[in-house]
């Protein structure tokens, strides 16, 4: 079975849009069961920081239809831990878990590495806390992580160290020390997250990365990274 957690803490509208794009791709293109996808966003709704009530019930800019994902909880550590517990209770040795983190990231500039900025008030979810939470998952076949927040590359060692999966693949929008960006052509999206998700249907996780980093597509100010353990984890797909 395949499971997914889609997470954004202090979301802007573009991050909510990105989660919806990911949700639709998982369900419509890759055949995920809707009830196997846990969506955690901002205050537990479709709202976002700085957004209006109208935007929260508006239409998705991808195709002008209503949002379909159901946000189940707030975008913070407590909700993420709960989602991990729920998934962990169902996770079987041959299962796959896909985690998409987007939204905002911070970095205090020291060896503690980057943080996620979560709801409410940009509360910091530190990298070491994320690593400890992830490590509580039971062993499973495949873990695929897509991160799009600023400084997301700093999470790569933590994810590889914590993952109990036989195969782990992580793709990030940036290195540990650089910021990630909106799509300059269309402010409705974050560039790297949108492009990776656009490239995953029918392809391996690393083909999606290669698509998202094509010179004619990549935001030149992003600095995408990936890591795989073992190397063959690059051949994983999100297909059944």
């Amino acid at each position: 079975m395949r499971h997914a957690i889609l997470f954004s803490g202090m979301s802007f509208k573009r991050h909510v849009n990105g989660l919806e794009f990911c949700y639709r791709t998982l369900v419509d293109q890759l055949g995920f069961a809707a009830d196997a996808i846990h969506v955690l966003n901002y205050d537990g709704s479709l709202r976002c920081f700085g957004g209006t009530e109208e935007e929260a019930v508006g239409v998705w800019p991808g195709d002008g239809t209503d949002y379909r994902m159901v946000v189940g909880a707030e975008g913070n550590r407590r909700s993420f831990q709960q989602a991990l517990r729920t998934v962990g209770a169902r996770l079987q040795p041959d299962d796959q878990l896909f985690i998409n983190i987007t939204g905002h990231g911070g970095h205090r500039g020291d060896e503690d590495g980057p943080d996620l900025l979560t709801y409410p008030f940009c509360r910091r979810y530190r990298r070491d806390e994320f690593r400890a939470d992830l490590a509580l998952l039971p062993a499973h076949r495949s873990l695929v992580v897509l991160m799009a927040q600023c400084f997301s590359g700093g999470f790569i060692p933590a994810v590889l160290a914590a993952s109990p999966a036989r195969q782990t693949y992580i793709a990030t929008a940036t290195t540990e020390k650089l910021q990630s960006f909106v799509s300059f052509h269309d402010g409705n999206w974050d560039s790297f997250q949108r492009n990776w998700v656009a490239g995953i249907a029918g392809h391996t996780v690393h083909e999606a990365f290669q698509y998202a980093t094509r010179p004619d597509i990549v935001n030149p100010y992003d600095s995408p990274q990936f890591a795989a353990r073992p190397t063959c984890a690059t051949e994983a797909t999100l297909m059944d």
């Binding site: 920081f49 990231g105 911070g106």
Partner: protein, 178 residues
């Protein structure tokens, strides 16, 4: 006390720590000062940060509001910054940042500066190797907390809040004292 009281922002403020988002603008050990300019304040930079000229034309306006007690964030005075105390400063930055996000009516200076992004070619994709440095309009808020640091020093906090009009996905905090 009011943000417009004569002299409240006087003095040289030494930067002691900055998040990565802002460390190229506010380099630790550099100093800044605030000079009255009409009804606002202009920032003078006395340091080595490569991108400090982003302040050249910025005028920060004074915003009146509540003045929180520093005791709400830290028991006793903060020691001067050193490697031994950097975790304490980091934890303080966590608390102050949440406070600033949660309480928009606190006394402060605020304005918009232009922060250069990706000045160096190794920070961009090859396709943009001949790019121009991107100047990002960035809102900042400046707070001070009297008698917060050892020897009666005032604590300065510069906060880059989340701003949906900003192209990047982060915020940042700078701490210093006079």
């Amino acid at each position: 006390m009011s943000t417009n009281d004569e002299g409240i922002w006087n003095g040289n403020w030494q930067i002691v720590r900055a998040d990565l988002d802002l460390s190229h603008v506010f380099a630790p050990q550099d100093t800044i000062s605030f000079a009255r300019n009409g009804s606002g304040y202009q920032v003078a930079y006395n340091g080595s940060a490569p991108d400090a000229k982003c302040f050249n034309n910025a005028v920060l306006s004074a915003v009146e509001g509540d003045l929180p007690s520093f005791g709400k964030f830290h028991k006793g005075r903060l020691p001067l910054f050193s490697e031994d105390h950097k975790d304490r400063y980091r934890d303080l930055a966590d608390k102050l940042e949440e406070f600033a996000q949660e309480n928009p009516s606190v006394q402060r200076l605020e304005g918009t500066i232009q922060i250069p992004c990706h000045r160096y070619s190794h920070q961009v994709q090859k396709s943009a190797a001949d790019h121009d440095v991107r100047m990002m309009s960035t809102k900042i808020r400046v707070y001070q907390f009297p008698d917060a640091v050892e020897n009666g020093k005032r604590l300065l906090m510069i906060y880059k809040p989340l701003d949906p009009s900003c192209a990047s996905n982060g915020n940042g905090t700078v701490l210093g004292y006079d």
